[in-house]
């Protein structure tokens, strides 16, 4: 392992991520990993990396890096107006960098997360088979935390490699309006008929409380049937919980493993990557989708993305 770059400005929240710790929920350990796994995989695909090779996840405002070695890099996800030595580095394009080169990311106008991948990937602390950072428990990444100025990034392999350009048709098109499909969930029946209708027709706004754990949605207040408190039961990224205050909470990649609030919807697996690009103030519609249709969508979308996400959406 060799030092490949140094963080000169950390950005708002920059962490090392991979595809997460699948299969660890029975230990109380969340999935973590890239909040937008599709953009993450696109950055890796441009470098001919395996889809789960560790890359940097930048949030809303990106970091600045000084490279200390020769490498091939690629950016994907939200456009943060990246500049390499003062010249624009477009999203989804690869670039060769050398010792002394400066990569400066700005602020995302649309979308929330940009991924910086390097050929061969970055190295980090491994826990349960993943280097993804879960800062709440100080797991993975670099000392389990968000990056700070002065951090040195290590490469995990050969840092220069062949590049390719994934079909532009596969790039997510990010605006401030999101459209997610969702199935019902075990406690959907606790919503009043009026609230159920509202949930699947309202234009929701992402509140300021939006992070890797989940996003609180603002809109009509939902009312639930009065039932005895439920015993804690499993929840997952994409689960929408409805706490007693009536404001739905959409869980994301760092979601806790069990919860005690009614589960009123589950975002379909094929749309879940979009949650990682939603930011405070963005709007979102949820459309009710039958399970069979959701499986069909996942199968068709996975076929289109076979080169990018060979594992599909069910992990």
């Amino acid at each position: 392992m060799s030092v490949i770059a140094k963080i000169t400005k950390p950005g708002l929240m920059t962490t090392l991520q991979d595809m997460g710790r699948a299969g660890s929920r029975h230990l109380g350990v969340p999935l973590s990993g890239a909040a937008d796994p599709l953009s993450f995989a696109l950055a890796n695909a441009a470098l001919c990396n395996e889809p789960s090779v560790p890359a940097l996840e930048c949030t809303l405002q990106g970091p600045s890096l000084r490279f200390l070695a020769t490498a091939t890099i690629a950016l994907a996800g939200a456009d943060m107006n990246a500049q390499l030595n003062g010249a624009a580095l477009p999203i989804n394009e690869t670039a060769r960098v050398k010792d002394g080169d400066e990569l400066v990311l700005g602020t995302a106008k649309t979308g929330a997360r940009c991924y910086i991948a390097v050929a061969g990937g970055f190295a980090g602390d491994t826990f349960l088979g993943s280097v993804s950072t879960y800062a709440q428990a100080a797991l993975g990444g670099i000392e389990g935390r968000t990056l700070k100025a002065g951090d040195r990034l290590l490469s995990a392999g050969e840092t220069t490699g062949s590049a390719r350009t994934p079909s532009a048709a596969l790039y997510p098109w990010l605006t401030h309006e999101f459209f997610l499909r969702a199935t019902t969930a075990p406690e959907t029946g606790q919503l009043s008929p009026e609230s159920l209708k509202q949930f699947f027709s309202a234009r929701w706004t992402v509140s300021r409380r939006a992070d890797r754990m989940g996003l609180k949605l603002e809109g009509p207040s939902l009312s639930l049937a009065r039932t005895p408190p439920m015993a804690s039961s499993p929840v997952f990224p994409g689960t929408v919980q409805c706490p007693p205050d009536g404001a739905p909470f959409l869980l994301s990649c760092d979601a806790q493993t069990v919860g005690g609030y009614p589960r009123i919807a589950q975002v379909i697996a094929a749309d879940l990557h979009l949650v990682g690009q939603m930011r405070p103030g963005d709007h979102l519609w949820l459309r009710q989708t039958e399970e069979a249709e959701a499986r069909d969508i996942a199968q068709k979308k996975a076929a289109l993305l076979a080169d990018i996400l060979p594992g599909g959406f069910f992990r």
Partner: protein
Amino acid sequence: MSALSFEVSAFGEAGWLVQLQGGDMVATALAANAIADRLRPLKGVTDCVAGIDSVVLRFDPCVLSPQDARKMLETAVKEAPHDKAAPKTKIAIPVCYGGEFGPDLSALAKRLSLSEKEIIKQHSAQKYRVLTIGFAPGFAYLGPLPESLRTSRLESPRAHLPAGAVGIAGAMTGVYPLASPGGWPLIGRTPKKLFDAKAETPFLFEPGGEVTFTPVSEEEFARMEAAAS
């Protein structure tokens, strides 16, 4: 050994939830964990997680049809042992109760019409079982809590509580393994490390294990905390 009745419902396009109704809290939780452990390694199963009285099976529909996944879950429920098998592990947790270590103890004593001493005595006399692991890495839901100590969650959860905080809520008690937010009233704190990512065995608890609490003084707490770090 009572019968374990159950109800299966869809949880997303690639998940089934089974809600268990068993009567005895510990036996039901042990059954939930046995079901999850049995199914988790099987082909086509992407994850299987136990709650207190439920299990969610998640599957890859390209490998396993939803009907087969559901059958698999139902079979595992029907064949699950439903009794309070003897614990395989026994762990004693030292706790310094009350004061700054358990900031909700005095309010709880008033609400429950018990003295602080009586709450400590009852909480530390009970033998608990790990019902399931969840919420945070290494957080164990422990039960049953003695009937006389049962209370509701805080009206508004604390934004920050320290690692080792011991709380109670409903029929359960638990120890927060990490500094985190939390909604359970806090009665004490342990100096014992419950989760250590760098240790060979990062997790202290396992489902079904027996857990007891031993009261310690502030001085003992300080000594143990110094020794642990």
